[in-house]
Amino acid sequence: MLTYLGAIFLQQGDTTRFDLMKQAAVNPDLSKFLVIGALLFIIGVAGVLTRRNIIVIFMSIELILNAANLNFIAFSRYLSAMGNVNAVAGQIFAVFVIVVAAAEAAIGLGIVIALYRNKETIWVDEIDLLKW
């Protein structure tokens, strides 16, 4: 067991995997941005799936959109470092994501207010009008 773990942990050659990890932590690159984006996305998905409060569900959706924005910006930075002249397209797409998020928040919160006025609840499991 220990030799198996050691074989995973220690690479062939003179650099160990621990050294590679330390080097990656000291010099974070594109993949670290993507990891943070993925974790934010998962947190948002978990919030949408588990919370009962419809306003917190909306906030989780904002978290998901923001994670997508982070990926756009990170790839834009990566491609511009690689000398790609069209790399600014990622930033432009992020602007449009922010626009759509603002529109979605305005409409969604309007729906929440209308729903609260009619049903007197913000718990999503009590809003079951369409459930047969």
Partner: protein, 211 residues
């Protein structure tokens, strides 16, 4: 593209702050606390944008998200009554089975994503075989072309200029479509949020006959 020195330090600080604030957003009992944690998460992500040299998007994020959307959220939270949640008499999560199933789903998803980021990034590095030193040297040459700032400690970025000119040159049609989308959102939210009485007065019905 690798960060180094203080940039790397601030990357980890703001990245971890964004993730922790996101977690607290999902787990906070009070919806106002959720909104405040979401604001700190958004500001941390804006700092990550600055580290990725997207200063314009970082400014837009703080102005639009934190200054506009989150204030709207706070207003709506205060319009609807959330007293039961704060007192702890209401369960904030769905029932046990649903939470367990969705957390298992999320764990599978995050495992798959981390695996695919790992392998995909290796493929990307194989596709762009330039060494880090060569990329950094080219970047330094591109940075040298920018004018130095007044203090001389850094260089003036052209990020806003390039985003603006590309937005109007190459993305002008989506830009116009986005303006129509915002108009539709304004009108739609006014239509959705008005009361029965306001609706009746818009149709020239006397308020006492509204029901």
């Amino acid at each position: 593209m690798t960060l180094s020195g203080y940039e790397a330090l601030f990357f980890w600080i703001f990245g971890l702050a964004a993730i922790f604030a996101g977690l607290l957003t999902v787990m906070a009992r009070n919806a106002v606390h959720s909104a405040l944690f979401l604001i700190s998460s958004l500001i941390s992500v804006a700092a990550l944008f600055i580290l990725a040299r997207a200063e314009f998007i970082a400014g837009v994020q703080i102005l639009v998200y934190v200054g506009g959307v989150m204030v709207l959220f706070l207003f709506v939270i205060m319009l609807v009554n959330v007293g039961a949640e704060e007192r702890g008499s209401e369960e904030i999560f769905n029932n046990q089975r649903q939470v367990t199933a969705s957390l298992i789903f999320c764990l599978l998803l995050v495992g798959g994503m981390l695996y695919s980021i790992n392998t995909g990034y290796r493929g990307l590095q194989a596709r762009y075989p330039a060494t880090q030193e060569a990329v950094a040297a080219q970047e330094t040459i591109r940075d040298e072309a920018h004018a130095p700032s007044a203090t001389g400690s850094s260089r003036i970025t052209k990020d806003t200029e390039s985003v603006g000119s590309s937005l109007y040159r190459y993305a002008s049609l989506p830009f116009e479509i986005a303006s129509i989308l915002l108009l539709v959102a304004i009108i739609g939210s006014v239509m959705l949020a008005r009361t029965l009485k306001q609706e009746a007065s818009a149709d020239d019905v006397a308020p006492e006959n509204a029901d």
